[in-house]
């Protein structure tokens, strides 16, 4: 009996310890984000890395998502599709698909890169070197990435929303033959602040999550190349799972009656 219970107990305790470590890391990271010194050059560099360089990936995802969404919805209900389509497209993209798909793409691209870079710095003692040079690694490495994640994801999602709607418009008007004026009018009438705002808030939270997971797993990696590889995988996997879990709770927060 003890032989069965021991590994279960050990796994449970290890899980609790890991959650505790992550909570402590998060608190420290947030504290260092809001206390000086700040590194504006590094924040800008990370904003370019996360925002600018992710734009082609997020843009491509958004445009095809908008196009597929219109096609699928049209095949689903042909009667009344023309009047309902702009609303379906707008709500689906701004509330859900824009932030979630955008975040998943960025998690794969940026989360992995962050974990690999910081993980390599850890195993080659570069993080220790920062400390010996009177530089706090949380402020120098973690805070700029978290600021960049929080600010750039909403911008990326805003662009993704626009591109996605344009993709939907293209298929609606040029492939399915919907009236162009009606489509634009419906979009303009149906766009609500809450739909767009909720999507951007989600994006900010997802951006924080991606940066935090990338930094956490990289910062705590050990054991050379294998450890860095493991940290990278864990950063992407945990980011993606957390994005989907947080998406549910944020949706409930904004829209549950």
């Amino acid at each position: 009996m003890t032989a069965i219970l021991q590994p279960i107990g050990r796994t449970f305790l290890n899980g609790l310890a890991a959650m505790g470590r992550l909570a402590l890391f998060s608190l420290l990271a947030v504290r260092h984000c809001v206390t000086p010194p700040f590194y504006p050059r590094l924040i800008l560099r990370q904003m370019i890395e996360i925002g600018y360089y992710s734009l082609p990936y997020v843009g491509m995802t958004a445009v095809f998502t908008g196009m597929v969404l219109v096609l699928q919805s049209y095949t689903g209900f042909k009667v009344g599709a023309e009047s309902a389509m702009p609303t379906i497209l707008l709500i689906s993209l701004t509330r859900e698909l824009g932030p979630v798909l955008g975040a998943l793409i960025v998690a794969g691209r940026v989360g992995a890169s962050m974990a690999a870079e910081i993980g390599t710095m850890r195993v080659t003692e570069q993080i220790d070197a920062l400390s010996t040079l009177s530089t706090n690694p949380y402020k120098y490495l973690i805070a700029p990435r978290i600021w960049a994640g929080i600010t750039m994801l909403p911008l990326l999602v805003a662009v993704a929303d626009i591109i996605g709607v344009l993709g939907g418009y293209f298929v609606s008007v040029h492939k399915l033959g919907f009236n162009e004026g009606n489509f634009i009018n419906n979009i303009a009438q149906d766009a609500t602040f809450k739909d767009i705002f909720s999507g951007l808030v989600k994006a900010g939270v997802f951006g924080f999550t991606i940066s935090l997971m990338g930094c956490y797993h990289g910062f705590n990696s050990k054991g050379g190349a294998q450890g860095v590889g493991k940290a990278t995988t864990n950063a992407v996997a945990t980011s993606m799972i957390l994005i989907l879990i947080l998406d549910y709770f944020l949706t409930e927060l904004f829209f549950a009656r």
């Binding site: 080659t124 003692e125 220790d128 070197a129 400390s131 010996t132 040079l133 009177s134 120098y140």
Partner: protein, 262 residues
């Protein structure tokens, strides 16, 4: 190790303990580093040398014991206080630990710009002077660490360690992985640079030639304890069985090499 008046000691370590789970790495280390002197700690791989200096630097938290820098207890110090004390230190890491994303001059000037808020132009001038002090031309300053050989990287690491003219410099295996000629160059540079800035030096190594070149005094660590301490010149005839086995590189003797490293 013969006790010295505390005021003469730059670093004083007493009863330092550190374990990882059930594996005891440091088991009550006592160490004195006199002001302005160079102490070399020798010991086999995995005996806790690196853990010891990481505890002194505050990169690891010891389980027990006391570490005094200039008579000031640093164990349990707040992060802000620790940052103040860290300004006294320079460190040459085993693999140089240069920042890949920065050019060489910015690596050398890093502590001045980021740690001390110096403007970049002034810091670059100092960095180029320090590069010159370790025998590197100014044009090397514009290269990236990946473009340098191992020996050049060590020189840059040394320039970075002395850039802020620290009071204490740590050297972690400074000659590991270098050919004998480059190792000798690094040893000579260490002596010259430490003398030039008037620093106290603590080195860890298993290179006996390096010990004789850079050390005023020496100590040997084994199974988490200092088993011998004395003048560097005495290391070849210490009369201590652990030191004799280590110096002569004998397979037989009281030392049993651990399998795991830390």
């Amino acid at each position: 190790m013969s006790p010295q008046p505390s005021s003469d000691l730059k670093i004083k370590v007493r009863g330092l303990k550190k374990a990882f789970g059930s594996n005891v790495v440091l088991d009550g280390v006592d160490l004195d580093v006199p002001r302005g002197k160079s102490l070399v700690v020798i010991g086999g791989s995995g005996t806790g040398k690196s853990v010891m200096i990481k505890c002194i630097l505050g990169l690891m938290k010891p389980d027990a014991g006391s570490i005094e820098i200039d008579g000031e207890e640093v164990v349990g110090m707040s992060a802000r206080e620790r940052e103040r004390v860290m300004r006294k230190f320079g460190m040459l890491f085993q693999g140089a630990a240069l920042f890949d994303s920065l050019p060489v001059w910015e690596n050398v000037a890093f502590g001045l710009i980021s740690g001390r808020g110096m403007n970049r132009k002034e810091a670059k001038e100092i960095a180029l002077r320090k590069l010159s002090a370790v025998g590197l031309q100014p044009e090397v300053g514009e290269l990236y660490p990946a473009e340098l050989s191992g020996g050049m990287q060590k020189r840059v690491g040394l320039a970075r360690a002395i850039a802020a003219e620290p009071e204490i410099i740590f050297f972690d295996e400074p000659t590991t992985g270098l050919d004998p000629i480059m190792a000798q160059v690094i040893n000579e540079l260490i002596v010259t640079c430490v003398d030039a800035v008037g620093a106290t030096a603590l080195s860890i190594t298993h290179d006996m030639h390096s010990l004789r070149e850079i050390g005023d005094s020496a100590a040997m660590i084994y199974q988490g304890k200092i088993v011998w301490a004395g003048a560097a010149a005495e290391v070849d005839h210490s009369g201590n069985p652990y030191v004799e086995q280590f110096v002569q590189g004998k397979a037989e003797g009281p030392i049993r090499m651990p399998v795991r490293s830390f």
